[in-house]
Amino acid sequence: MRSKLKLIERFSGPKASVYSILEETAVGISSELMFDRFIKRYRKDFEVELLDIARRLHSLGNKTGCLDVFFKMDEGLEVDDMVCALYDVPDKHLRLFCIRPSEQMVIIGDGGPKTTRTWQEDAQLTKSVGDMMQVSQILRAKMNNRDTWVSTSGLYLEGDLYISKT
């Protein structure tokens, strides 16, 4: 299944760019962002939390940038994988996993309600973190090879944004 980083213009602004991963769902027919899937899966039961997440993503892009304090850092298993989660609203536990390359950029993925002490105890959360760790690994390799780079403004990823071409 092919996938690619895609800028979400609805959330992005002068302070930060918000990306998600566009995945092909049927060859040449349909594709979907990981974040679209997150919305569809939880909109019925967690609409208030989803709206709060959407508002905060818009604020990150347009008002504040992606300060580290807005995220739970070090959610991934590798030291430098940049995998984190948007800070949970107190008493709400819908967790959205992300990759945060800098204060001016965040890649949002998928997630789910955190009802266990650690994400490793929940199948959906484990998959979401695993996906983000994989994206991070590919992105870091591409950046090391200079196939992908950060724009001079610091706001955008440029070059090869494909995560998987096959």
Binding site: F35, R55, R56, H58, S59, K63, V69
Partner: protein, 170 residues
Amino acid sequence: MGFHIWVIPGRGFVHFKNLSKMAKAKHIDDFEAAYHDDSIDSLMAGVTPEQQEETDVKMLLASKIYKAMKGKGWTQTRFAEEANQHMSVISKWLSGTHNFTVETLLNIQRLLGIRLMDIEGPDTSVMFIKLSITSSTISAEGDIHKWIYENGGMAASGIEVRKESYKVVS
């Protein structure tokens, strides 16, 4: 080896290898062009400007506190000690999700030496005043607008003409 040539109506002959590259490029283009999901727009349609403003303010407050904390060279641990709070409370304050009370904001202001509530600043809201002008030099409505502009006012409306003078009533 035979000739690998394809014929495309209107485009002449294309070598097989080039055609393969073209097909691959088209395939990737289709992948992106096939994105028509409106989940994000549909979700954001449920956000009112007032709700977005509330979130913006919460996050800007957290950002200002965080930057002031860093400006003082404090870690979150030091901030927690100075504020006599648990680390988890500081994390919430800085998360952009916290509903601050006035008391908490005042404490943070004192600790970090910053202003988070500007309640003594100038009132920049529109002021409506009523005044009567009697003048021998004002002879037309345009003169009244000019006079208001020259005296620092922005606009006049509801101008009533009374005999040989104009009266601005709002």
